[in-house]
Symmetry: D2
């Protein structure tokens, strides 16, 4: 590891670095006369980098290739492969799955109708929020447990696994009883209490955790949110890019496909993309969904709703059922020329 | 209220607007032939605006002056004044208080030494984190309950009230037993479960809640975070600007004093500023602290630490004791020419 | 047109709106009693919207569909089609061209070698800067006229048309004598004197103008930069997305493919993408180039350089010759499944 | 100088660094075995840092304290002081001047009225645009030469010096004949042809150049824009912070006072602030102007207009004459407690 230190450190200040190295069983060599560059020789634990970053005397870590963190080394699939399975879905290792459904669970008939439709059209997982994070306390907050029950019913009917958000560490057990994949929303990405709690649940029950990038989170911050989950002993984490905040308003958020392409080389964890929340407009979901797959995404999260006018959140970005059929068909064709394949639920499975 | 609706709405889609108005006891008048502009006449509840914003048929709220939300109407002080008292501190209504202390509570002797010093120098509240939100799970997470006990001891010793962060809704009771002011950190600003829980506690026990602006939160989102707390029945909310994320790196975050000036006209809630976290550098805390007061801030949160080299987080931005003495003196002089005053703990009070 | 006006305008203030409408031959109708909403009936010129936006009394233009600007109506191709031809290249209307070459023109042998290579591999235009916009006056500023002469020689040798940047309105004639396409760089997007001058040249000589989006320009500002060029009487403008500034640093800029997808529905002008400058890293040029095509781009600008270590700017993002061959092959396959085709120089043409 | 190099450089790639050092008369020492850290010993010219930054082999400059650029060493005042004089105005070295006037020069009577008013109220320079940079070609572009003539008349009448923008390198002579200070607008900050041309004029005639920070320019980019001017041999450059682009919209731009505080320690050049363009709202100009002075600004640029309703640009942010009187009075009081003074035109001078 290569550290850049503050200039002009007093001996007792330099000592904090040497002591930390000692605790980690590493040796320190100063490269320059002014002792502002320190080369450390390990071996290092996954926690080593963060421990040195925490020191006042350290300005920055110039190189930490010999001290990888969990998100750099963990293989998310069983047996050391890079594919996470969840119900009929598979993410990573060349497999791509489509997650579709309404933004929020609002009405039983509507949910079951959408679930049937997206299952037929090629989705392998159903998304839908029972607990909704909302900017205003006066906005619709989701149906809560009643929504979870409806998701359970939709799964029984269609065979689709369920991706649903958990907002509160006190709800992890309750949501875990229904979810095939936990969703950590963008607003919760820095909620360490929640990340830790779902990590523990995942380590025990194997439920994968899909972590959405916060609206202004750096790629490193997203990876360290995943690190909180991985640190509890699970290896089943999926990363999700869903657009970041910027100054322009032709799209609601700015989809960062450079981050997706980068992540494919930086971690073994699958990376999926939510073009619906990024665009905030139904007409851009198809081009952005295709672009995401071309950039390397292992899956898509897409909002589908035949009657957005009856919903209380995000209706403007939902695809109609026929637009969703078209999207799946075109994603399949695109994935094929990129050497990947879209996973479908086998007929007999349903 | 004036709504802009989608173009070309079908009758059953327009009906969702008319029905919502009906539920709220409001009447609807369409201004243009195409029925894309709807004028609603109330009276309206604090929740009215959010309910209409939630509708798919509504593009935007053009005007909602006749439907104010809680953060626009609540007077934070007892008896309808705009001053929040917390121990010896007073925020708002011309009163300005200085909150000072280390970033995290790490060591008993150091904490008590800092507490004594900032009390002598003019702080009325002691800040310090027992629970620290950290980007990496491998970084120091705070001393937890042991940290709370040390804060309690520092208060007993100095008479300073305690401002400390709560991160998890399950810790609200525990933190509330020690805190004179709850701090909701920037990473928790969108954590509605936490906001609701501290709101409930504040409604019952009167503990003020200081809500920091999220790193990429709009001013309206900050106000709606406050709305979650106010919605539980308390009126004791303090807003805090602490810098937002931008592209430049001469400061760690970009302090948004335009937001402070705007908020002073938009809400009765006090607005304080944390120049330490914004700057991320000790040498800019003084000019930014003075600028904050000139822009209208009702208080400052400042990190002070005589031995930053021994700390595990944010040492680079901590003022030395003597720099803090200088800051208080200059803030007092500046506040005076701005027609405000810095509250001090009276000698006999300690 | 639908205008939102300031509240409480005095009669002489309202009069400025009515007078401007009068000058434009439009009629005004106020929709609400408070006269804050004005509906204007035209017909309108392309300048109408900007004229009303300029008025102090106008808060915003709510709708201007009946007053389109030039970038909304101009068909860029001869005879009313949407395809711009430049040498062997064609942009738009289902045709996609690849522009490749070094960042700057630095050395004769290197330039000719790259030109031969990219011509063979499938590029139809050669890019390369004779005039380089640099952040520091001490950095390499380009070879100037000597560089133009080398580009001329490369064209004669390979048949590739030349895309090159013009920085100064005084150089337009000189650059125009060599360029098959003018490039307006991101730093010049708001340089109205330059836009006007190249617009005049293009109106007279037909040379297309490729306008790159400024590093923090909104999509509307990009379109209005194009409007400056179109306003001089040419219809040959190509838009270019090349990444915007953001807070993360895994890529140098953040490629905004939502803007590309939006522009394909907002204007007839072709839209190309520069994944090299967006990524700032050679390893991400391929996935971002493919993503750009999937999102709807009509062409790519790609840096290619066999010996980046000898260059003075942007070497880190240049593709090697073999990586460029691979990119062209994969873009062709992807374009085909998207129903578009990559234009190649016919063998006999060279 | 301390350089970080790419990993795994071949000998001929390392050679590019050694050769550049040789050209500069510097020696190279590699600190680590892998030769990724190079310490260079000078002496260095002002251009040294940029030359090394330009090399492909160099990842970043870790330290360049021994190779300062012009903006770090130039003393802007005659005789080595830090005060720039322009007419009655003085910027820097404890002196603070207020520049006021309309956004654009539009009407003779209005201009003369404003000029008289701001001179009486305490401004020492009159600002006003004869050439206006506008987003749309259809918007009012300024009166051009007729506007310059009116500014000349206003100076003769009031004794105020003139600050006015130049947009086109071909206009530098013409604007220079009237301007006491050239203004380089935010959109022109990266226009190197223009910066060079005004630099040459300033070197010959002594006219100071006020460079506004681009809307998304980093502080370093602003300093390097100044470097272009200084590099022509003048030392009379003033920097101006006027807000940067962000995601929130309560203010038009986000005023970055951290940058102002940083610049006061990073350069001898005076730093002024334009709270009017930052706020975009008249009601926030006072608090932001005071905050700017508290943060260390050496002057303010303020828009003043008694009849904004008749203007074609930016009327919403102009102060009324009485609000300007109040601002000057309060800035004077504030400057005094900060140990600085606002320069006024002496009675007999007018």
């Amino acid at each position: 590891m290569l550290l850049r230190l503050r200039q002009g450190l007093a001996p007792h200040e330099l000592r904090t670095v040497i002591d930390e190295a000692g605790r980690q069983g590493a040796t320190v060599r100063f490269l320059d006369d002014a002792r502002t560059l320190a080369e450390l020789e390990g071996p290092f634990q996954a926690s080593a980098r963060a421990r040195f970053e925490d020191l006042w005397a350290v300005v920055s870590i110039l190189d930490a290739k010999d001290a990888p963190e969990l998100h750099q080394t963990v293989r998310p699939g069983a047996g050391g492969v890079d594919t996470i399975e969840a119900g009929h879905a598979r993410f990573g290792g060349g497999d791509l799955s489509i997650v579709a459904g309404p933004c929020a669970v609002e009405d039983r008939d509507a949910l079951l109708e959408i679930a049937r439709h997206v299952a037929d059209a090629g989705a392998t997982l159903l998304r839908g929020g029972a607990y909704k994070p909302r900017t205003s306390p006066h906005a619709f907050q989701g149906l809560g447990e009643a929504g979870l029950a409806l998701l359970d019913e939709a799964r029984a009917l269609t065979g689709l696994g369920i991706v649903t958000e958990v907002l509160d560490p006190r709800d992890v057990e309750k949501v875990g009883a229904v979810a095939d994949v936990f969703q950590i929303g963008a607003r919760s990405m820095a909620n360490s209490a929640l990340l830790t709690e779902v990590g523990r649940y995942s380590a025990e029950h194997g439920t994968p955790v899909l972590v959405k990038r916060g609206i202004a989170a750096s790629v490193r911050e997203l990876l360290l949110a995943a690190e909180y989950v991985l640190n509890e002993g699970t290896n089943r984490v999926i990363l999700c890019e869903r657009g970041i905040r910027s100054f322009d308003n032709v799209t609601r958020n700015l989809l960062d496909l450079g981050a997706v392409a980068h992540l494919k080389g930086a971690t073994h964890l699958p990376v999926v993309v939510d073009p619906s929340h990024a665009a905030g407009r139904a007409d851009l979901v198809l081009p952005l969904g295709l672009a995401a797959v071309a950039a390397g995404a292992d899956g898509l999260l897409v909002e589908v709703n035949p009657r957005p006018e009856t919903t209380h959140s995000d209706g403007a970005q939902a695809l109609s059922p026929s637009a969703f059929v078209d999207l799946v068909r075109r994603v399949e064709a695109l994935a094929q020329v990129c050497g990947r394949r879209v996973v479908r639920v086998a007929r007999e499975a349903v």
